[in-house]
Amino acid sequence: MDLARFSQVSEVEWRVEPVGGMRVPAVIFADAGLIREMDDKVLEQLTNVATLPGIVEAAYAMPDAHWGYGFPIGGVAAFDADEGGVVSAGGVGFDISCGVRTLHTGLTAAEVEPRKQRLADHLFAHVPAGVGSTGQLRLNANEMDAMLRGGARWAVERGYGSAADLERIEEHGCMSGAEPGEVSEHAKRRQRDEIGTLGSGNHYLELQEIAEIYDSQAADRLRLRVGEVVVSIHCGSRGLGHQIGTEFLRQMVVAAPGFGIELPDRELACAPIKSPLGQAYLGAMRAAINCALANRQVITHLAREVFADVFPGTHLGLIYDVSHNTCKLEPHTVDGRTRQLYVHRKGATRAFGPRHPTLPADLRDVGQPVLIGGSMGTASYILVGTEAGRTRAFSSACHGAGRAMSRHQATRQWRGRALVDELASQGVLIRSPSLRGVAEEAPGAYKDVSAVVDAADRAGLARKVAKLKPLVCIKG
């Protein structure tokens, strides 16, 4: 994008004042290099978001922003229900509550190294990944509804983890306000045997070595030490979330004129929060959040089973679990007034600062962990929310590297087999049911995650704590 289109607020904050139908400014947090690489569509989509009714303060984009559906991926926008605010299915996305959780293993990379191959093979065999894969659980109608209401709590109650896990998950593992009755039979049908599956695309289970610490105090509190190995799981609400996104987007497209909403882009389809359709979507979306939390919890259990077999006596304790594609009701102070706002984060992470009441007691002085997934073969990061972040983008940070190249281009540039061999020579073992899938997800097809994380840190959205480098990646 052309930098001349913005007024520069700081080295990492760029702004476009409202023009035309925009109700609020559009703001991008990124350095000049990242902005230059961004597609023009990011600003076009962000200015479209700024036209939506009831939007508060500004339409924001994170440093990893790229062209999405309606909202850019990496987009953040908050709406006030009392001022005609809307909820947008496109503002949440198809993969509702797609997110990351990271677990301690208590093992060092040196201890893991001799059994790395075995771990990789065992994890690949035990954690269902890829197109058409099914989990061990088959949910009947009652269990489906219980899962959609209970989230990770439902999974823990059935033996997939412990109560301690729930303390380290956003919403304590269970999103309130879920309405399984608003979830269609089609969506439930799609999910019947998909609990405990990774999915495909950019979803993964990765073993990572803590390579560098930037903030020793926060790292101590999160028990992160250089040389130790963690497990990160990136996946979402699977077919159920995709189907809810599809169905509500369509309903909102059809209903928009009736609400008097003029859509600059069909993907921005939305409904007033206070309307029956808005409420139905929120109930279904919250059920999908619970589906994602349950899914990551069951996968955690499967990973623990593998570690118990390969390294008897290890305990995989949860560091934290964050979601990326959500709309959540949160209190935020705007112009000195605290308001209840519906914050859409699409491809963005919540990043509450220290002392936020929803944080687990033992992390309250540190801030909320922000887990940034890299791409296969490149670094991932752990950050924490900051005090300054309270006044920036409603306590939000980036979520990953963000794609820099189309899948089509990636498959022309790389071959899956060659990539797997090259990464193996660098000590990174890839296991995937699809070599073309590996090529499409080549690390080179993504933005430089380190530049993205540095920009988020410099913008005060979140503070860098640790860098992780991959050892084993199970790709969907």
Partner: protein, 139 residues
Amino acid sequence: MRPHWQHFPHGADIGVRGIGPTLAAAFEQAALAMTAVVTDPAGVVPREAVDVQCEAPDNEMLLVDWLNALVLEMAARHMLFARFEVNLEGHRLHGTAWGETVDPARHQPAVEIKGATYTELRVREDESDRWLAQCVVDV
């Protein structure tokens, strides 16, 4: 003209495009392009038929509905489809897809499709006897 399909690039996902002498043929080809996002359609055996029906206010939404009906059937039945037949009555569609259960070893499916979207959505008659139907699918 001979019906055919194409992919077109999108930043994060992929565009599917069907081209044919009739609207129905373009819809059939767009579905084939969608299969090709996942796997090589030539490797999918059309041994089992699945019927889908949909209805929409216009041709563009009908394309998205058709592709999404197939996404649902692919996901819920764990199937891949290789052959399609579309019959249209106004904006009402009756379609049949033939395919088989996913075999990861044989099909090497690259990615699953989350949904067809309204992005880059176009359905139109370009010239006489040349219909085009396209949109981006989220993967």
